[in-house]
Symmetry: D2
Subunit: 460 residues, 4 copies
């Protein structure tokens, strides 16, 4: 569990043409809610114009019946967005989709990912007299599109994206068209679905399930798909680069019921758990996982190791962004409220604790202590991914390298820090083998970035 360290993912969804486009987008955002809980928004378009609604909070907080009725009235195209990060209290200005007006009319953009040269392009645009009203990379793209829009939105979007580098899934609603583009390396996920005659685009296939739609295929790296009244067209908008799908989608971000790169996420995680068991067996009484993201890997470990899988920790479903005031006697109450060990299950046992990753190490330390306080005789920590050593510049905010515990400490130091009896990470080779035929971005583990990131890049 990446202890709050990985927080910049978002989710995007689009649909054209369907008489209930706005309502379906609303459903789909529920399914994508795990990708972003800080703000949500929908832009819907019909013959009569555009409707927009955005707000801070969960999808359930942002949309009510009357707002949905307004969005749905006479509209048949829609794009939606859920967003994770907040930058201060004025964050509403940064909620997506971004809606602007340019010479060719209104343009709505919904974006998941990060552009590594956004700051430079932005500076260039400012030098030419552009004004910015948000801190979104998306606004940079909007400016580029507006300046290049002579040949229509598709060409303008393609030309604009040729000027930026990074990992992204970008949806645009321009005129009566829905456009989707995936970055040349396919770093961020984007899939195509179908519901009757309508086409859908989504960050994850679970959104299609929520919409009652069928998964068709993934959008290819560098591909642009355009849905208009004539149907679906695909163009290779950008020359594809080295395939580099974000492996962390498999490890942590995506929902277990989504399929990515042709594989089910839960199945991949379970396979990683099996490989972990084969490589790092240990004599133990029970296997347990950190809910929810590590349950799949833990059950894989347990099956492979033929050690009973137990529910050693229960997660409180009702703790959201709540206000918790610790009292004296129980300093770690915040964690205890969220995650409670089952003393009767743990007491006296040798426990294999499976987690998906360690980022800063603080959460792992807390959980190991919880298990020991619950009577665990031994705690063997097994991590279903290699040590996380390099910051991500493609849509996951891991702050600075100094905060990555594996970047600054060796394995034994980390083991001592988290207080485990043993600590093993899945190797890079096993991760690659477990996530299918290569083609993943592994930069956070090996520093090999698929796109040059010199100059680094403010994440925004």
């Amino acid at each position: 569990m990446p202890d709050g360290g990985l927080k910049d993912h978002c989710g995007v969804f689009g649909i054209a043409f369907h008489p209930e486009a706005a309502g379906i987008t609303h459903h789909a955002l529920y399914a994508l809610q795990h990708r972003g809980q800080e703000s949500a928004g929908i832009v819907a378009s019909g013959e009569g114009g555009l409707e927009v609604h955005k707000g801070m909070g969960l999808v359930a907080d942002v949309f009510d019946r009357s707002t949905l009725a307004r969005l749905g009235q006479g509209t048949d195209l829609a794009v939606g967005h859920v967003r994770y990060s907040t930058y201060g209290a004025s964050a509403l200005a940064n909620a997506q989709p971004l809606l602007v007006r340019y010479r060719s009319g209104p343009l709505a953009l919904a974006h998941n990912g990060n552009l590594v040269n956004a700051a430079a392009v932005r500076e260039e645009l400012e030098g030419e007299g552009s004004i910015f009203q948000t801190s979104l990379d998306t606004e940079v793209v909007a400016h580029l599109v507006a300046r290049l829009s002579d040949d229509g939105p598709e060409e303008a979007l393609a030309a604009s994206l040729a000027r930026v580098r990074g990992g992204y899934a970008l949806l645009a609603l321009a005129g009566r068209k829905l456009i989707g583009v995936r970055d040349p390396n396919g770093i961020r996920p984007l899939a195509l679905g179908r519901l009757g005659d309508a086409y859908l685009l989504a960050s994850e296939s679970c959104a299609f399930d929520a919409a009652g739609a069928e998964f068709v295929r993934e959008v290819e790296p560098g591909e642009m798909v355009v849905v208009d009244r004539h149907g679906l067209r695909s163009t290779p908008a950008l020359p594809p680069g080295r395939p580099a799908f974000c492996v962390f989608e498999f490890i942590y971000i995506a929902r277990p019921d989504s399929d990515l790169q042709g594989m089910n996420v839960h199945a991949v995680r379970k396979e990683l758990g099996r490989r972990l068991a084969r490589n790092y067996p240990v004599e133990a009484d029970i296997v347990t996982g950190v809910p929810d993201s590590s349950i799949s890997a833990a059950s894989g470990y347990a099956e492979e190791a033929r050690i009973p899988y137990e529910m050693g920790l229960v997660k409180n479903r009702y703790i959201g962004r709540t206000f918790i005031q610790p009292h004296q006697e129980a300093r770690d109450l915040g964690v205890t409220l969220k995650l409670n060990p089952l003393r009767k299950v743990i007491d006296g046992q040798r426990v294999v604790l499976v987690d998906d990753s360690i980022v800063r190490g603080t959460t792992s330390r807390h959980i190991v202590r919880l298990l020991r306080e619950a009577g665990a005789r031994e705690v063997h920590l097994r991590i279903a991914s290699p040590p996380y050593r390099w910051p991500c510049y493609f849509g996951i905010d891991t702050s600075s390298r100094g905060e990555l515990v594996a970047a600054v400490r060796d394995g034994e130091e980390v083991r001592r820090l988290v207080g485990a009896d043993s600590l093993k990470h899945l190797s890079l080779e096993e991760l690659v083998a477990g996530t299918g035929a290569g083609g993943c971005c592994l930069a956070c583990f090996n520093g090999d970035y698929p796109v040059p990131v010199e100059g680094g890049g403010r994440l925004g």
Copy 2:
């Protein structure tokens, strides 16, 4: 999963004497939130008087920083409550704790359970000129206490409870005393905990974990515990009846990390799953459970049957009391949004689906259909409890017998209704064996009510 059929449980918590009584109660209510999501309330008491706050919604909605500051200011006793049911829009009047003033001062009551003769006693009291401002059984108790209060609150409470019948865990804050009473049959759960010099009372032990406190023991059937400045006293307030702890706490209601009757709930559920596997084996490829309540039983089944346990269904954590408008193409979207099958896991497989219970049968039918649509070759439904045939009068609202599918249809009819290839329920004997040394109320399965319920009883 009892498809909305079982909805009248509540959770209670109390603490005395602790300088952070209100804050700890707030934490504890988070831990008990699964017992009631419709309203929440805290009454806190100090030398200077009482503070109260109640509201509709989740604990996180009802309490904010400033309310908690006010409740915590100078107080050292507190009782809290979470409630499930709503009766119409004026439900706020029914939020607990109930706070009244009687001749001996203020009295706060928090109650989980149901009194089978509440309506009769209420009528009697009205006949004597009493007025009622809520539809709570608790208000009946408050009236009785006020009329019998000559000898102090403990005696009055004992005498009052002697006049009512039912299943309950009742907490009272009277003067500078915290009082807890459990019904003579021990139908509803109530446990005693300790945090330094302070004593705590809670519906489930997981609340003690959230409070950083230790579990001491369960309150005995008919026992009254009183905490005042002199410490803890216990009195046998009511002659204990036949032990009849609600077996449905084990099956569905309680949190897996709670301990009840000396056993861990998850461990009991897993054992029920094992017994189910031994009694009703089936040739299959995977075992899956309905999240969250049936996961323990499903993993027990899988282990015993040596069939891989798979995550066949994913539950959306963000669907609360949300507004869902189904669109034409996908009528079962509501269910799909909440519960999504993993097609890649399910497709082509023979699936053992483990659920904790069947009440009306509608949810089971939906889930079986979901699995078939996801490609399941066979679906074998295994229920970790016997057929639910009799309404409960002790705190679980199962409406009328006519709605209980097993009360009106035989096993083969139910199987056809839910659409499973086979359907097996755990036998009563196995349930008893799995939940320990008898002593449970099994009335919902065998109609043998521990307390006479003739005249039935409006549930309220």
Copy 3:
């Protein structure tokens, strides 16, 4: 302007039988909003039962479209209430109408006024085992009615009110009847109106205007009016006492467009201003009043004195219960925000400042200073009522006598305190003459209470 000193008035409204009873009550509460801004509530009744909604805040805050739709669905009787006072944060429990259930069914009570022996009766009832859930006098009445209800609600209400003393206008909705009672001295106002076949009861006639209804007459002191399916009946429920209509309704509380005791409130206030001018003339350049309550009296003074009436002070309409943080340079900013002097009008002038009353004196001091800072050469304060010397026990909370500046200081001291060049109060005789043929309660000016108040009486 009674500087926050007079804050315990309320407004009541009732209607029977009208298909839009709830909607009309909603309108009427807007018209009565000046009588209470802290909470509002409506109980509506139809053949199918009762609906209730209460909340903290203004009518506009408490009721929305869907709440009104629910209240209006199938109902044809309604009572509504607006309330001024708050006692702490749990004030919602004290919002009216009070809705209870007793042996004869549901009973809703809405009450304006104060019972001087409420505490004693309450203690008596508690001694007999009654419980109280609010601190309202109204709850005392509800208990009495429930105990005396053998002969029907009217008789029970009459018998109950025979046991209490005070000033009140009380509306009850019992079964399919609307009942209104006014105290034996007619201290608090209550009027009868008509809209088609429906009858209405209201604290002030302006509520009838808002309802599009006609004023019929005032309810007599001690009279009970009952509206049921057979029409309107009147009974002398309580032997009338000495007529003692609250003169402060004329002076400050009522809306200028209401008629009370057969006279228009604005006209009475203007007449008081004229009398003030005749008795206490002064050489001056302009006359100005404190908005809004003193405008009528000031214009009367100006006309009589033949001195131009000027708008010397403007009141900010948007300052409600707002949060104002004074900064260093302007300590009196709170007052300045609410009331701004017109420098160009005031500068260099000799000003007659007319106000309706002085309670604590602090507001008068502020206003005189504002005028002087705006350049007033002289400020002559003229008060359209006698010195306020005795606390009220009949529905106006003036706290203790010690806070009444005229009770503890002589006229010259008060003049110096407020900083006026001269200060004159209307005499009691002139007040009596101006408000018509005697019959008013003048206790706040002369201590002659119409009902014995020994033992005083907690105001509640």
Copy 4:
């Protein structure tokens, strides 16, 4: 009362340098609330950066204690805005101040008024690739400033404003400077104030009173004032045009306690009423005005005519943007709720009704009918301004000419429409005489626009 016809005014406020800049701006916006009730916003700036908060609704709705604390933390410059109009539900995007980032850093703009060539300039900018995120004229200015910013914000602002035409008061917060500019004709008001060492800019002088500050002088037409760490500088940024201060500020918009063009607004209105009386006397019993805007003129008429001024109509202070559902019997209830005639005052009288203006005529018709229903024997309508015949393009949204009743009907037709016994408007000459030495824009009365408006101009 311009019956909702005049709704596009706004209020602006700025202050530099004061340690409580944000809090003072909050106070000032309360004082300017009458200029705009749909949205409010503050941008505050300190050494550490900018804070912004904007929201829909009244100042009291938009700002709470914690927001103000955040805005006030370490800031000493601030600009604030209240806005009247809404264009659909996405209006939040149009709340001001507009905050953008351009090459020289952040820039906040707050604007009252309208640019007649905004659409053309906007189109031009879009043609050059600019994107727009609002429908505000202010955003046009921001784009121009960004493109011209080589020589610093003052020069850029001056150059930008040279490209637009219209009436405006514009405040900018750029870097550590507060800048204010008034349009070359001085159409919209802007005044300079002082509080200790700090300077303030505001639409009306009443904001200085609320801030505890002193009025210094009005900003001159075409003048730019700049406040930075070196103090206040003034530059003639734009060549002044023909003086054309909006006469409707005197007639209706401004608060009576504000001073404009060296005159007090109430005094001007009263003088207009006197002139109206001298020109159009009538035999009558009472004079009454439509609250609140016509009270001053009515009292002037009464004094001059020596007819008693009476409060003939009472305005309900609690009707805001409320939801009113008329019931059958009383169709005009909406108006009656807002404005109630005093029957006892009106009945049998010959009434002079003074109003400030007639725009569409519907409100006048309602009020005349109210007075007649209250028993008025005659109603003589006197309007303290000439017939409103021409749409305004400088910040007051009067929609189309067709809606202006005086543009399409002659005087006698209007009299019949509103149902008055006689109807007289103040002549243009008297208006000019009453509002001082010429120099006012009278376009709405005579069509003589101070700035060419061919092409008209969408108001936005």
